[in-house]
Chain length 202, copies 2
Amino acid sequence: MTETATEEKIKEAARIVFMEKGYAAAGMRDIATKAGVNLSLVNYYFRSKKNIFQIIMLEKMHIIFGNIIPYMVDENTTLEEKLNHIATVYIDTISEDPNLPMFVFSEFQKNPEDFSFLFPIKKINFNEISIIKQFKTIRPDINPAHFMLNFLGLTIFPFIAAHLFSKMNTGIFDNIQTVIKERKSFIPLWMKSILETNLTAK
Amino acid sequence: MTETATEEKIKEAARIVFMEKGYAAAGMRDIATKAGVNLSLVNYYFRSKKNIFQIIMLEKMHIIFGNIIPYMVDENTTLEEKLNHIATVYIDTISEDPNLPMFVFSEFQKNPEDFSFLFPIKKINFNEISIIKQFKTIRPDINPAHFMLNFLGLTIFPFIAAHLFSKMNTGIFDNIQTVIKERKSFIPLWMKSILETNLTAK
DNA sequence: AATTGTTTTAAACATTTGTTTAAAACAATT
DNA sequence: AATTGTTTTAAACAAATGTTTAAAACAATT
């Protein structure tokens, strides 16, 4: 099956090039070259640049959301179990593809219209999923958006800032990959403290 | 002074266009059109695309770091005062330019070499600045990178995720701007809880 | 009023872009 | 061995890119 072989070679090259340079700066010739393949073959197998981009983006969206939402929905785990599990799995997953969050957030912001193809994912009502319901019973006084922003901020932000921070030579972000891995066990504990924080205090 | 007027018109247009589309997707014609000015004038006043981009980027870097580092260095405030002050000022500042963090982080990642012009900023040794020293006396057991990642993650991440989250129709990120403003008072309290969290617990 | 210097314009420049074409190479089937 | 269908190639396409040119318009000075 030479057909599938070259098609996959192109896809893998597209993953790397789009991820590194973003949609706008990525060239069809970059992809072809990285795949070690004739330029025309990229259009032959994937019709257009926008099309192959959307295929890669859909893949990435599944990784960044598909690995997290099933655990959030699970009615058979406690909130503490969810936080433990998700923090670990998520940091491990993204560590294999550290630019993924940046890629998804930044490409979405630049061309929100081009993401209509993933309306299936967008249909989830967070007020109905387990993790939010569990949070609401503990802290009915706080907007659950805070809870999600805190959890995802603590987990995802280090990946987004890693490049810049480690090249700034501050002396504290030198081996940031090691630091990020430590956070797998720290984040659930910090989240627990945050959950217990009294916000009405003067 | 018509000269300064058009030069500033071009600069302002460049700010908007670069911010919206990023370096690669931004065109010289986009900038000229948005400035209401002839295409050649962009090169006349700013020589090249890369040059005008670096001018804008330097501006943005000053906003995102210049507004935060002076307070971190200040030896005359307590850690609690610093957290209170920075959270408020920073959220207010970035709220006026919500795409700033995304812009800076993503453009840096794509072309780190093009940021050599800001080596002055990079010279700061975080181990010597007040906020880190204060943290170290309270929690010598934890890598200060965690402290900074937590604080900046809680503060900055909501801006990075806002676009995607609010368009996902989850039901909890509807008026995310209001939520973000609430965080000005919440984040210092959460940080205090995080600081007191025992991480050695089984 | 003539001259000088600066700003603006329209046109063109050479490259680079995504995409298409048509022929060649290859594989499989009859 | 001839035919069919698929894959790969080289070349070309039109459109868009950043930049330059040279003339025009304008302002200021002598």
